[in-house]
Structure formats: C-alpha cells, structure tokens
C-alpha cells in the first residue's frame, strides 16, 4: 500500500446487516490505512446502524437508488473529500480485503486509471454457472470488439479508481447495471483500464441481485445501454 495516497473504500450496501460486520473487520485487518464509506442504499434493515456502530462513515440514501446511484454517491464523497483512490468493495463478503494491495499495484506504477479485480485471471478458484459463463463471454467479446481491449471480468464490482475516474464518475455514472457500461464510458473518455487477478468468496449473507430469471433481462439491458453509449455524441 502506498502511504501518501488518500484511499477510500466505498461499500454500496442494500440490506447487508448480516454480512457487513465481517466485511468491515476484514477491511480493518487488511487495509487499515484506508478510510471506509458505507453507502446505505435505502436499506430496510439495520445496515446503517451496524456500520455506524463499527465506527465507519455512513452515507444513508433517503430511498433505494440502485447500485449505480449508490456508487456514484461514494464517488461524489471521494471527490468532495479529495481522495486519490476510490475502491469499490461489495458489502456481501464476496471480495477479499487482502486483495486490495493487488488492485493498487497498477495505480502505483501509473499504468491505469481504473484497475479491475478479475476472478478469471487466476486459475480454478471461481466456477460460474453455465448461463453466467455465456453471459460473461458475450460481454467480454462485445467489449473487446468495441473497445479494442480485453477485459476478462467485465461484471466485477471490485475496482480501484484514480482521481480522474473519481472526478468522471462523480458526474456521470450508469444507473441500473453499471459495471459493464461504466467501462465503455471510461474508455470513450480516454481512460486506461487494467486487470489484476483476485479471488472471490461465496456470499456470506443476503441475496444476490442477479437471479437466473433476471439474467436475460440484465444481458439485454446492458448490451442496449452499451450501444446507446456508443451512439451518444
């Protein structure tokens, strides 16, 4: 970890009171120098109070904005408080705090504006279901066709953004399923994207927002959004 950089870990959380304490503990153990902001996305459970009790900063949205609006709130906080790096970290326990130092490597070397933690660069650990595999393959193929770069894990929500990206995302961030779309926006804005291998755990609590039924809708919506982005000015 680079000591002179001001680092913020943004945890978008919607009804994650069960998994959040473990996540915060993991972060405190492995990334003690970083500040933490939990963005409580209009949760109905004790997400906000659980986070507040453990002493981290909490931005509570008055109603549920969805992951895009919640993450953007985090980037606005990072911009307003002058952070050098903002790391997106899930509140459900699937990301591993020890991997954060991997994410900061390319930033330290000045090689990238955004670094994505990829499940697929390390062999074996993660085995997605068949449909997910197909979806992931389609996203990667579409992105490498239009961006000319290869991103193995386009839907990963484990990312580290530098000041340029923080500034950009604070102003414009996609709403519904932002991971894939945000890469297209960044690429069009001339930012560089890098990937590092990370591992991910199975969820420790709560439910994934992506059910098999929603997957098809998700795919179509994301691809549509990507093409709309390409047509914009």
């Amino acid at each position: 970890m680079i000591p002179m950089n001001k680092i913020l870990i943004i945890i978008p959380a919607y009804n994650e009171e069960q998994s959040l304490p473990g996540v915060l503990e993991d972060l405190r153990g492995h990334a003690p120098a970083a500040d933490i902001l939990v963005v409580d996305d209009g949760s109905c459970d004790g997400t906000a109070s659980v986070a507040r009790e453990s002493g981290v900063n909490v931005a509570s949205l008055p109603y549920n904005l969805g992951i895009g609006g919640a993450m953007q709130t985090g980037f606005q906080y990072a911009r307003n408080n002058d952070y050098d790096i903002a790391i997106q970290f899930d509140g459900d326990g699937q990301h591993i705090a020890a991997d954060i130092s991997e994410l900061l490597g390319p930033h330290a070397a000045g090689r990238a504006d955004i670094v994505i933690g990829s499940r697929f660069l390390k062999r074996g650990a993660y085995r997605p279901s068949f449909f997910r595999k197909v979806g992931i393959w389609i996203f990667s193929t579409v992105l490498s066709a239009i961006l000319g770069i290869h991103v193995t894990d386009t839907t990963s929500g484990f990312r580290a953004a530098n000041r340029r990206v923080i500034e950009y995302f604070a102003r414009a961030y996609p709403e519904d399923y932002p991971e894939v779309e945000s890469l297209v926006l960044l690429h069009r804005a001339g930012m560089t994207i890098a990937e590092v291998p990370v591992q991910m755990r199975d969820r420790t609590g709560g439910r994934s927002s992506i059910t098999p039924i929603r997957s098809a809708y998700y795919m179509i919506k994301v691809l549509l959004a990507v093409f709309v982005d390409l047509m914009k000015k």
Partner: protein
Amino acid sequence: MDIVKVLAISGSAAVLLVVLELIRRGRLKERYSLLWLFSGTVMLILSLSRGLLEYIARLVGIFYPPSLLFLVAFVFLLLITLHFSAVISGLSEKNKRLAQEIALLRQALDEVRRSTGSHGGVQ
C-alpha cells in the same frame, strides 16, 4: 352540420378550455401546456374549416377527411407523451442528485455531531 363536425369542434374546444383553466389556476405550468394548447388550436381550426380539412386530406391521400382529425390528434398525443418521457427522465435525474446530496449532507452532519460530542445519528 354533421355530427362528426359537432363532436370534433366541441372536443377540441373542451381540451383548450380545460388546459386554459388549469393554467389559470396554476395547476399546469406554461412550459408543459404549450404542446396541449398548440394541438388543441390545430384541432379546433381543422374541425371548424371543412375546406381546409378536405384540402389537406386530399393532399396526403386520405379518402375520408374526418379521419385526418384522428391522425392529427394521434400524432399530437404521441408528441406529448414523448415530451413527458423526456421531462420525467430529467426529473428522475434531478431527484437522484437530490437524494445523493441528502445522503452526503447526512454523513457530514453525523461527522460534525460526532466531533462536537452530541449523540445519535441521523435516521
């Protein structure tokens, strides 16, 4: 005067009157009423002047002139709903910005309270 003409005139006049009354009472903002006023006026003119209606109908190849009225009304309704979709998109963006601003202000307030030693978070 045939029935379709009476219906058309009273219909478009009613739309205009209702819109004007809503503006007068402050229930409708002028910027969102312009399309309604414009479409009501066009519909009224076309209903009043059979000659104009028949001329335009012949021009675009419509055999039964009153059906031109339906076409015009339909196109206006499409425009108005499209306009509203754009307005709603703008409003939801502004709404999102406000929600984010509130969340950040709550957080800042929490921090101030913590540093001044007063208790309790903001719910």
